[in-house]
């Protein structure tokens, strides 16, 4: 499966949650002991393992949550902010159901730690089509029936929006396939997705507006 997704880069921190989780497994007892230690008391750069305050900028709004440092952006959104458009499916950076846009880049929210997403501009599906207008990508997905059970759909819509944000001149199915190669659908809606993204591209170009 080809993917053009940028792996998340956590500056000066470990961004591979698999590693973090691994530590969590073997360090269970350690975790028990150190929950009583305030996060701030643990020296510069060290956090947790207990909950820490995290400030996120999501869809232009500031959101404060208190989560353990190992909590992903996806789980922070879903479990702590009730923003459940992004779905947890593979939970390992393969399927794209959790796709969000961070600092203009399409990323897997399951593969970004919430603490590392601080200071970034995060767009989620909930931020699309604000002000009562439907985003052209979402509208095109409905028109072309680019969804069945719909569980992968928000991820596809965000990946498609990310594509059209960076390249409004998308014209070919090959370009769509390249950009959305990192999103998987089980019901098999790809035929509709190809049509929807190209149609949305045409419409957004006609309208001239990139961000609805």
């Amino acid at each position: 499966m080809k993917s053009k997704k940028d792996p998340p880069q956590g500056k000066g921190s470990v961004s591979r949650r698999g590693f973090i989780r691994g530590v969590g497994v073997s360090g269970g007892a350690l975790g028990l002991v150190s929950t009583s230690v305030p996060a701030a008391a643990q020296g510069a750069g060290a956090m947790g393992p207990g909950p820490v305050p995290v400030t996120l900028r999501i869809n232009g709004q500031t959101k404060n949550v208190t989560v353990e440092p190992r909590v992903t952006l996806l789980d922070a959104l879903r479990n702590h902010l009730d923003m459940t458009g992004a779905k947890r499916v593979c939970d390992r950076g393969t399927c794209g159901a959790c796709t969000v846009i961070m600092n203009g880049k399409v990323v897997y929210a399951c593969s970004v730690l919430a603490v590392d997403a601080q200071g970034k501009d995060i767009q989620t599906i909930e931020g699309l089509g604000q002000g009562g207008r439907t985003h052209p990508v979402a509208a095109a997905f409905v028109r072309h029936d680019a969804q069945q059970c719909g569980y992968c759909t928000p991820g596809f819509v965000m990946a498609a929006k990310g594509l059209l944000d960076r390249n409004p001149n998308v014209r070919t199915e090959a370009e769509v396939e390249q950009a959305l190669g990192g999103n998987l659908c089980r019901c098999g809606t790809y035929v509709g997705v190809r049509k929807a993204v190209l149609d949305a591209a045409r419409e957004m170009k006609t309208r001239g507006g990139r961000n609805a």
Binding site: K2, L32, T35, T84, D91, I125, Q148, T153, R186, Y190
Partner: protein, 711 residues
């Protein structure tokens, strides 16, 4: 008696045309709430501890450390010391805690000692199965020995189609709240009307005390019908935690390990035929496994059931792996693969065009004319005559193209369904059914049938499904939903309209038999100037409302629904003989499903089925590790599904000709998900000149087959 038939095709305003799904926008904007999206007040998170061994005895379980972990509200044992565990991933214990992370940590703190026991996790080699294989007994018809003696040609080949998983994107699971004597279940289920009773039974509660609520489900494909262990345990964790709701959904690895599989099928098929391609005899030695309970024989010979001479032997192999659940068209993909591959190989041996061979043998099927015409249609759409070449005769380039075909069938009669229509005095129309929309477009289909019947617009109908308090409607399995809900909706709407006519007839001064509902009006037939708008007509109800039931009885469906369809799929592939990679060029699906309610979602279902077939033909396989007995690929990186760039061109042709349309509504979920796998496998054989006996057709298998051919 009211008229229950569908309006004639030319008079249907809505049915059979393309309509957007009515819940499309809430899904595409992320507003749709699935069970796994719920964050109820005070909700706890559950997690499961599963067994790491394929076969083991539980020696001891110590939960004391887990119970002391921060945030933990309850720990429950599912297995106990002395229990014999028969597959890796089997549930051992469950925990609830305030956060998901705490629940996972607590699970890891549970100490379990196992005594590992010998296991078998592979069934592809029957010799190695030993006593774990159970023969089902020979099935004999006609005189196969004599038929082989007199056959002009005999073709024999080994085939294998593996275990695959459902891989629903929304994992199995639920949110459950057990407070006092009432349980609220927010599942991910294909069985809204039935799952509450199933849970109640396990909890030893009266069924009426379990209320089921589900707006959306993120995929089921046959694997989500019952409450399951995780439903029962989530309920008990909730009760043990003072009635706080508990969310327990499987993580991906557990989902792919224990939440259901499609059984495998392996075997040798031997065919005898005349020179002209007419098959005269079938012989098969097959085996299969769907887990610890083994695996039944697929229905072979598939579709060509009337082959006169047959000998069949099948063995069920018990292995130590997560168990089978219905998988979209249960056992039909396997049957189709064993049958239609064997027919393609026979055609190659006869140097005959398989299209001709399949058509020649169509008389062995229950619907020869349907298949012949569908084969012709599909051949036209894929340009078979121009593109087909004899097997292996595919030029000197390392890129080889080939064509293949397969046929399939399914019943798809409507299930038992009841619907309640309410017409309010302000003109509002509601319809309630204890049904579910798996993404097939059931909600939209109900609205279309309702609006067609009342002469209203689709958006005028409020469709209410997903609660077991609504009139019972069958589980969505076996392509039974569209027939079921179309029948019950049509009848309940007809009854309700009849009641409205009773009220309106005196106002319009015409007998009610003379009234019709057209374009938002109730009018007198032949005198449309005499009419009331829908609103005005409903206003005559005053303080009353109309509430009428309608039933689809599978034993007596009338003319609204029927069962039994045919379909043909053809595939064109390109195989890189240097890398072994198979690329999809084009797939054509010609499909019958009787009267079509919504052409747009019917086409979507068929596109989706073809894409699923591409996944299963080229990528999907549950891979077991002989040493540890565990699934090696319980993730979405190595349990491969096709991506958007892997599918090629897909052409769908729905049979809407009069003879198909006249049959009433028939289900579509399974049939188009059957033939594609075999069509692709046959196309690969045609391209490279040799049969790759086992799907999925991975580069490794393709290269190995090429090597055997060249040896």
């Amino acid at each position: 008696m009211p008229e229950y038939s569908w309006p004639p095709k030319e008079k249907r305003r809505l049915m059979g045309k393309r309509h957007d799904r009515i819940d499309g926008l809430e899904k595409a904007t992320g507003k749709a709430k699935y069970g796994s999206d719920l964050n109820l007040p005070g909700m706890l998170h559950g997690a499961l501890l599963t067994c790491p061994h394929a076969h083991a005895r539980v020696v001891s379980i110590d939960t004391s450390a887990a119970e002391r972990m921060p945030g933990v509200t309850a720990v429950r044992l599912i297995a106990k010391a002395g229990d014999e565990i028969q597959w890796a991933g089997a549930e051992i214990a469950a925990v609830s805690a305030k956060t998901e992370e705490q629940a996972r940590d607590a699970v890891k703190a549970i100490q379990v000692q196992y005594e590992p026991l010998p296991h078998l996790v592979h069934e592809h080699d029957l010799q190695k199965a030993g006593p774990r294989a159970k023969a089902a007994g020979e099935v004999l018809e006609g005189d196969p020995d004599e038929a082989f003696k007199t056959a002009d040609v005999i073709s024999e080949q080994m085939y294998g189609i593996p275990v695959i998983t459902h891989c629903c994107l929304e994992p199995h699971g639920n949110v459950v709240r057990w407070q006092g004597d009432k349980v609220d279940l927010y599942p991910s289920t294909q069985n809204v009307s039935g799952i509450g009773g199933d849970l109640a039974k396990s909890l030893e509660l009266p069924a009426a005390q379990v209320a089921v609520h589900q707006d959306h489900i993120g995929g089921g494909f046959g694997s989500k019908f019952v409450a399951d262990r995780w439903g029962v345990e989530a309920a008990r964790l909730s009760k043990a935690s003072g009635g706080a709701p508990v969310k327990l959904f499987l993580d991906r690895a557990t989902e792919l390990t224990i939440a259901g599989v499609r059984p495998s099928a392996y075997g040798v098929v031997k065919l005898g035929a005349k020179k002209d391609g007419t098959v005269t005899v079938w012989e098969s030695r097959t085996w299969a496994s769907g887990g610890f309970t083994g695996g039944n024989s697929p229905p072979i010979p598939y579709v060509f059931t009337r082959i006169p001479n047959k000998r069949q032997n099948h063995s069920a192999v018990s292995i130590n792996a997560g168990g089978a659940r219905a998988w979209r068209a249960p056992n039909h993909q396997q049957a189709c693969y064993l049958t239609c591959s064997a027919l393609e190989d026979l055609a190659a041996k006869l140097k005959m065009d398989p299209v001709e061979l399949f058509k020649k043998n169509a008389d062995w099927t229950p619907r020869p004319e349907v298949y012949r015409s569908q084969i012709d249609k599909a051949a036209e759409l894929i340009d078979w005559k121009k593109k087909w070449h004899p097997r292996g005769d595919s030029g000197s380039s390392h890129l080889k193209r080939g064509l293949g075909l397969a046929l399939h069938t399914w019943q798809g009669g409507g299930h038992a369904s009841q619907a309640r229509t309410t017409i309010h005095a302000d003109g509002t129309v509601e319809i309630e059914l204890g049904s579910q929309d798996l993404g097939t477009g059931t909600r939209t289909a109900i609205a279309i049938v309702a609006a067609e019947t009342l002469g209203l617009r689709i958006q005028d109908i409020r469709v209410k499904i997903g609660e077991n308090a609504y009139p019972p409607s069958g589980a969505s399995g076996g392509s039974t939903t569209i027939g079921g809900v179309s029948g019950s909706t049509r009848r309940s709407m007809t009854h309700a309209l009849d009641k409205l006519f009773d009220v309106v007839a005196p106002v319009l001064g015409a007998p009610k038999e003379q009234l019709e509902a057209v374009d938002g009006k109730i009018q007198v037939k032949g005198n449309p100037a005499k009419n009331l708008t829908w609103q005005a007509a409903c206003a005559k109800l005053g303080m009353n409302k109309i509430s009428e039931m309608g039933t689809n009885d599978p034993k007596n469906p009338g003319g609204l629904t029927s069962a039994g369809v045919g379909g043909v799929q053809m595939a064109e592939v390109e195989v890189d003989t240097e890398t072994g990679l198979v690329r999809m060029i084009k797939t054509v699906a010609v499909q019958d499903c009787g009267t079509i309610v919504n052409l747009k979602t019917a086409e979507s279902q068929t596109y989706g089925s073809v894409i699923m077939s591409i996944c299963a033909a080229l990528m999907e396989e549950r891979i077991m590790d002989a040493q540890t007995g565990r699934v090696l690929n319980p993730d979405m990186e190595f349990y491969k599904l096709a991506g958007i760039g892997d599918i090629g061109e897909i052409v769908v042709y729905m049979n809407m000709e009069k003879e198909y349309d006249d049959r009433g509504v028939i289900g579509l979920g399974e049939p188009p998900a059957i033939g594609g796998i075999t069509a692709i496998a046959n196309a690969v054989a045609n391209a490279i000149g040799v049969r790759v006996s086992h799907v999925p057709l991975t580069p490794e298998r393709v290269l190995a087959a090429l090597e055997r051919r060249n040896a």
